[in-house]
């Protein structure tokens, strides 16, 4: 691709804006759009009013295996997989839409960060692409859950059917579910 059309660039700017609003880090923006780093930085500052966080992206497939993160990422991935099979869109568009539908179901508590942040959701898809994580069915409820390949030989039971002993998460008293 030697020269990008203006329309492609406008399209990418829109995608970058959606990504920044969803909370994407610079690495995501750089790999999902063809915009220059300089443009992305300016866009980021104009939208968020501050410079993007520096440093490496979190890199740990194990993060997705702790019980609460696992539940959230499993729902997100089900939605993503469904949309991906339904519409043949650019993967990043599907990801944005899946993340939106996921956030609807799991709105983050005011003042808190979402359990599954956008950049995490993006890394989850990378991990699944390179088969470090996969989807397995819970042997009790039949729902699809994220699991690492090393667990998948044993019969899998999700942490909603059998919460680990330390797990506890009750609905907040000022009921907002």
């Amino acid at each position: 691709m030697s020269e990008h059309s203006i329309l492609d660039e406008v399209n990418d700017i829109h995608i970058a804006m959606d990504l920044i609003s969803a909370g994407a880090r610079m690495q995501v923006l750089e790999s999902e759009t063809t915009l220059s780093r300089r443009k992305l930085l300016r866009l980021y500052k104009e939208i968020n009013g501050c410079s993007p966080a520096k440093g490496m992206l979190p890199f740990s497939p194990d993060w997705f295996m702790s019980w609460e993160q696992n539940i959230h990422s499993s729902l997100f991935y089900n939605i993503y997989l469904y949309l991906q099979r339904m519409e043949k869109q650019r993967p990043i568009i599907t990801l944005l839409k899946a993340y939106r539908l996921y956030s609807e179901q799991c709105p983050c508590e005011p003042g808190k960060k979402p359990v599954l942040e956008f950049t995490r959701a993006w890394t989850l898809l990378r991990f699944i692409d390179c088969r470090m994580l996969e989807q397995v069915a819970c042997s009790v409820c039949g729902g699809n859950f994220i699991s690492t390949s090393r667990y998948t030989n044993a019969l899998f039971t999700c942490s909603l059917c059998h919460p680990p002993s330390r797990a506890s998460k009750k609905a907040p008293s000022e009921a907002r579910c």
Binding site: L75, Y82, R85, E87, G143, A167, A171
Partner: protein
Amino acid sequence: MQNIPEQDDNVQTINDLNLSYLLLAQSLIKEDKEAARFRLGLTETLMESLKNLSVPQLVKLASTNQLICQLRINSEAVIDFLTKDSRIDALQHVHTGIILSTDLLHTLPTAEAVK
């Protein structure tokens, strides 16, 4: 539809619910077909025909003493573990979401078998 003597309140409620459901389904489908399918769990062809119905046609379809939409969870075991007391109650709605979206994935023709 009219002139039904002493129509039961429940029947009226069912009619209303049917119509609300159909109107909601139609507006969801018009807004975003893929998201609508995710929310409604209907097939593509069914959604296509719902989308094109006029309001009088929707009313016609809604006027019956039976509900026109069906519970998407059809196992008592699933209802039981989605509603029972749990140490992680706050996440049970996510469990419902996982079960429904898993079922939806199973209905897609290209769905690969999950291990």
